[in-house]
């Protein structure tokens, strides 16, 4: 199964930078599925799930941005109380540490997709799949 590729962009904290990233993506017909920003005093790291990560990476790098690509785990969490807790508890029980996570909803609105960034991605995928939680492949996410 193909893992989901996340694109991360280094952004200095100055006005207009985020707009330049989104404009660059738009100009290349790239659709953003999900995003999150981690911020510090001086800079932020913008993380993106897009429909075409390879092209997004290339477009941003050519636009002069510092870009990196990492594999993340995207899982489908039922949209009800305890849905996320169930998944995370299973990872915690096996000693897996989530570096960060963010979520986005799908068109149907019945479930949320949660992006997990962790070191042991294959092990996490196995644990979650065994618990009956659906792990999405890259192709599935890009097509959403």
């Amino acid at each position: 199964m193909t893992r989901v590729k996340q694109i991360s962009v280094f952004l200095e904290n100055k006005s207009g930078r985020l707009a330049e990233v989104t404009r660059t993506l738009a100009d290349h017909q790239i659709n953003i599925r999900a995003l999150s920003i981690a911020e510090t005093i001086d800079y932020g790291v913008l993380r993106l799930i897009v429909n075409d990560p390879a092209q997004a990476k290339q477009a941003l790098a050519e636009g002069g941005f510092t870009v990196t690509e990492t594999e993340v785990l995207v899982v489908e969490i039922p949209d009800r109380p305890g849905g996320l807790a169930n998944a995370i508890e299973r990872l915690a029980a096996r000693g897996l540490n989530v570096e960060y996570a963010y979520a986005f909803v799908t068109h149907s609105g019945e479930s949320a997709n949660v992006v997990f960034r962790l070191e042991q991605i294959e092990e996490a995928a196995r644990i979650l799949a065994n618990a009956g939680i659906r792990v999405l492949s890259g192709d599935e996410v890009y097509r959403l």
Partner: protein, 438 residues
């Protein structure tokens, strides 16, 4: 009629004609000694085709080749010493351009001379044996602490060697011991003033009266600020360890430039590009020839400090020429909190850290009531970039720790986007100095 603040009237108020004769005589000796005792000088002069006998008076000075910081580096550590090490009683050092320290030595006589010029400096601000001198320059390899210390003792003042830092304790001592004289960098004077004001210290009611502030460039605006906040006369003191340390020149209470102790350190101002001597009043690079120093004799040493010489008489009665506050540098050295910083040192650190690019910018700032701050902007290269903030913070911390250990100075490292640091044609712009030096 010289004022009562002249420490050594015979020297400081010597008629100009006699002073020039004295300088010429001392110059002949100095050149002879350098040629005879320092092999590096002998080859330097031979190469330039100059014999000691060619130097008969000050007029012949331009025949001599310049000495630069690179000469000190090439002869590291003791190669330019004019006496055997057993006659050297003190060694100081400051940063050099390439990680190697600039090393300077002193004989017993040099130390006595140094105390004399500091005594002139302190006396010019009215310091006497009745004063309590709080010396907040750092003690150590840096010449500030020990330099001021010996001169203050020579004057007979009660010296408190507080050294730098621990501002609360500085304030406590200033109040409890009744310090009348403060010696420190001008930016630290402001830190003391503002910290004091915050905790309710009323400087107007304290006996503190005069301050000797040097080791970094400052401005008239800063003088006014310190004087207003601390209720002192704020006087500039200049020096560099190569020439002797602090005390090369000092201000009198006229506050119209710094009298150069030119009976010992002969000044010239040159065009930094052509090396041509400039007439008085023109801005150029200050060059010193040490006339009497023994351990480290220097001929036409290029300070890289930019200033103007003023030959007009001063109403204090001193005949020694004055230089203006240092207005800048003819190289890229920065002086931050008394520490010499060369951009090349930072480049050296960055080259060794994976994940950073060699593009960097140094931003120096002087915020109100704070010491000068050095911010190092480093471009975030593709290789070092991570989606995890903790990795970026680790990189930032590592760069900071390495720079701090090389410079001996606290810095702030800021990661910036690639290509945000301007690439200029030819020489890159590595420094933004936001300190207002008027």
């Amino acid at each position: 009629m010289p004022d009562s603040n002249v420490w050594d009237a015979a020297a400081e108020c010597m008629p100009v004609e006699r002073l020039r004769d004295l300088q010429s005589a001392r110059l002949r000796d100095a050149v002879r000694r350098a040629y005879d005792e320092v092999p590096a000088y002998r080859s330097k002069l031979d190469e330039a085709g100059v014999r000691p006998n060619d130097i008969k008076s000050l007029d012949d000075l331009p025949k001599l080749p310049f000495t630069s910081k690179e000469d000190l580096r090439d002869n590291y550590p003791f190669g330019l010493f004019g006496v055997p090490l057993e006659q050297v009683v003190r060694i100081h050092a400051s940063s050099g351009t390439t990680g190697k320290q600039t090393v300077v030595g002193y004989t017993r006589e040099d130390i006595a001379l140094w105390a004399q010029v500091i005594a002139r400096t302190l006396a010019a601000g009215g310091t006497t044996a009745r004063d309590v001198v709080q010396n907040s320059y750092g003690y150590g390899l840096f010449t500030g602490g020990l330099g001021l210390h010996y001169g203050a003792e020579l004057v007979g003042a009660s010296v408190i060697p507080t050294s730098g830092g621990q501002t609360k304790r500085q304030l406590q001592i200033m109040q409890d011991f009744g310090s009348t004289v403060l010696c420190c960098t001008p930016s630290y004077a402001l830190v003391i003033a503002e910290n004091g004001a915050e905790i309710g210290v009323d400087f107007a009611r304290l006996p503190i009266r005069v301050g000797f502030f040097g080791a970094e460039p400052w401005s008239e605006a800063m003088r006014q600020e310190i004087e207003a906040k601390m209720g002192v006369h704020a006087l500039d003191i200049y020096g560099l360890s190569e020439v002797i340390g602090p005390g090369v020149s000092y201000e009198c209470l006229e506050k119209k430039g710094l009298h150069i102790c030119e009976d010992h350190f002969y000044p010239e101002v040159i065009d930094p590009d052509t090396g041509k001597v400039l007439p008085p009043g023109e801005l150029g690079e200050l060059v010193f020839t040490t006339l009497t120093k023994q351990a480290l004799p220097l001929l036409r040493y290029r300070t890289r400090d930019l200033t103007v010489l003023d030959e007009s008489p001063c109403s204090c009665g001193r005949t020694h020429r004055r230089m203006d506050h240092v207005r800048g540098r003819s190289d890229d050295m920065l002086i931050i909190r008394g520490v010499n910083v060369f951009p090349s040192q930072i480049e050296g650190v960055l080259m060794q850290i994976e994940g950073t690019s060699a593009h960097y910018l140094l931003v120096v700032d002087r915020k109100h009531g704070r010491l000068d701050e050095l911010e190092v902007w480093v471009e975030m290269g593709q290789e070092g970039f991570s989606d995890e903030v903790k990795q970026l913070e680790a990189l930032q911390a590592r760069v900071q720790a390495e720079i701090e250990s090389v410079l001996g100075l606290t810095v702030r490292v800021k990661l910036v986007e690639p290509k945000t640091i301007a690439r200029s044609e030819g020489k890159a712009k590595r420094v933004i100095d936001r300190r207002d030096l008027g």
